[in-house]
């Protein structure tokens, strides 16, 4: 769950970042549209005489995305950005690296799960994320991770007959 509202973003830096993000996304949308046209050029022509074919709808969506990219860029350009900015707080500076670290832990465990299976990877992810969020009591953290991982495991595998990954090493 999210926290109570964060300290207010430094005046000017939030809107500036938002404008850059919108402009970058507008550019990405154009790239996606071009890629769609390129990828759909190889689709076969419809065999049914009255069908529009497999490429029609994706291309319509791609054209609309290009139009929206233009509107997005225009809207970003029109949006007022207050002049001057103060540095973000220390907490705000640490927020994104912490999130990226959390994403990294999840992705690493996702890769590991395919080799070692659910239990070791899930335990590692659990402990890693709890430590990332500030827990420092190693024993308590590990016990909580073991208990909750076991609960999820038994609920799905034994309770609902839903198998969980065993991992290539143990299959």
């Amino acid at each position: 769950m999210s926290n109570a509202p964060q300290p207010a973003e430094a005046e000017g830096s939030g809107p500036r970042i938002l404008r850059r993000a919108d402009l970058a996304i507008a550019a990405i949308l154009v790239v996606i549209a071009i890629a769609t046209f390129a990828a759909s050029s190889g689709f076969p022509v419809a065999k049914l005489g009255n069908d529009v074919g497999a490429a029609r709808f994706p291309r319509i969506y791609a054209v609309v995305l290009v139009v929206l990219a233009g509107l997005l860029a225009l809207q970003a350009w029109r949006r007022p950005v207050p002049a001057g900015a103060t540095a973000p707080t220390a907490e705000r500076r640490q927020a994104l690296p912490r999130v990226m670290a959390g994403m990294g832990i999840c992705l690493a465990c996702f890769v590991a799960m395919q080799f070692v299976g659910f239990v070791p990877a899930a335990l590692t992810q659990f402990v890693g994320l709890m430590l990332l969020m500030g827990r420092r009591h190693w024993v308590q953290t590990t016990l909580i991770a073991v208990a909750l991982t076991a609960a999820v495991y038994f609920l799905f595998v034994n309770g609902l007959n839903v198998p969980l990954p065993l991992g290539i090493m143990f299959e």
Partner: protein, 506 residues
Amino acid sequence: MNEISMLFAGFGALMADPLALVLAVVGVTVGIVIGALPGLTATMGVAILLPFTFGLDPLAGLLMISGVFFGGIYGGSITAILLKIPGTPAAAATAMDGFELTRKGQAGIALGTATLSSFLGGTLSILVLVFMAPVLAGFALKFSAAETFALAVFGLSIISSISGNSPIKGLVAGFLGLLLATVGLDPMAGLPRFTGGFTELFTVPFIPVMIGLFAAAEAFKSLETMDLKGRSAAALGRIIPPWPVFRPLIGTIGRSSALGIGIGIVPGAGADIAAFVAYNEAKRFSHTPEEFGKGSLAGVAACESGANGCTGGALLTMLTLGIPGDAVTAVMLGALTLQGLQPGPLLFQEHTDLVYTLFAGMLVCYVLMLVIGLGLLRFMGRILRMPKSVLTPAILLLCVVGTYAINNSMFDVGIMFAAGIIGYFMQKWDYPASPVVLALIMGPMAEANFRRALSLSGGSLDFLYTRPITVVLLSVAILTLLMPLYRGFFGRPVASKDTSVSGGVE
């Protein structure tokens, strides 16, 4: 009226069959639990329990499955409200306002409202099924590909309504979702599109994307701050809403239930579509539409009553015409056939007693859903007492397991994480995630039915303007789409938004 006396006779027959009542309790409980768990849907629950019905008498077996169906649709709202993890696709709409209410410390009221609304919507839909089945069956027959296409377009037009502060960004999210929905097998020719050779992409990875965009993204957002003091994530508070708070919602519940029943009757349109359409109409009729998306009880009530109102409509089409309205009723159709019962007009004539006993049992199932649901809420609400430093990793673990459970595929888990990362940045930069989910639901329905309608009309587009239901739906869709867009783009420029506060409003 004849139906009333037959219904009372059905109650009498039901009371004489305690096994059926016990299995109804089992079905509802299993349904609520399965519905609450991400990745497990009502369809899966029905499919899991179907083999157990082989040895049972028809009434007991069908009631158990009905219980799973009703409980599953409702159960998705619990985790949607508490944790922003929609347990079922229909709950994605509930998560929009339900989770905002949890943030405000009103999780209990939101859950109680969802439970009561589900009960009222579902009960109303069963009563409509009992008394109006033959009349409404005729309405279902008027829907062909053209009308279903128009319904899908109407559903898609809701994107502009749930786009929060920026309709442009909402449309971007929506059309990206539509493009994503074209990944997979072409609906007419069956050829792979944009799959890159991955067979896992032959079907739209809708649920992994939904879990990622909603639940994983929110969990990643929670990582922004450390939880040094181990505070509880949120408070549950009071569960049953006070009467002065609930009374204004009754009109919304009635309207949403009617919409749900109407949409449930249409084959191929399920609870997820009903929930979003009901939400949109509740916002349209509200005196305070600006509160939707920021924690409106009316939003929660509309979604839940609309989704559960769909159950009676879907059952109506299945029982009277033998046409399953969605995946769950398709499985139930199989269950009926296995029991030697052929759905259709003759079912009501040849098995009248059984049919009305089944209707009575369905009403009892909804009462059980209300009682069991309210009883489980305090227990499930303890989830909120967990510190964030424990709850956030638990949510991410549940996302992994729930996603894997769909197809036993780590590929789906990878998609879920990708969607979670994208969803996090979408939140940071004010791009709403709900339009993506809506587009993934409606996009395939729109394209497939448009192309089908075009084939049926011999390549002519006249089906767009010669069929009354199609014209009405498309006209409303155009109005729904254009008005917020016009206000958003040609109104005053939006003031700089503090992106660190709460991200995009969905």
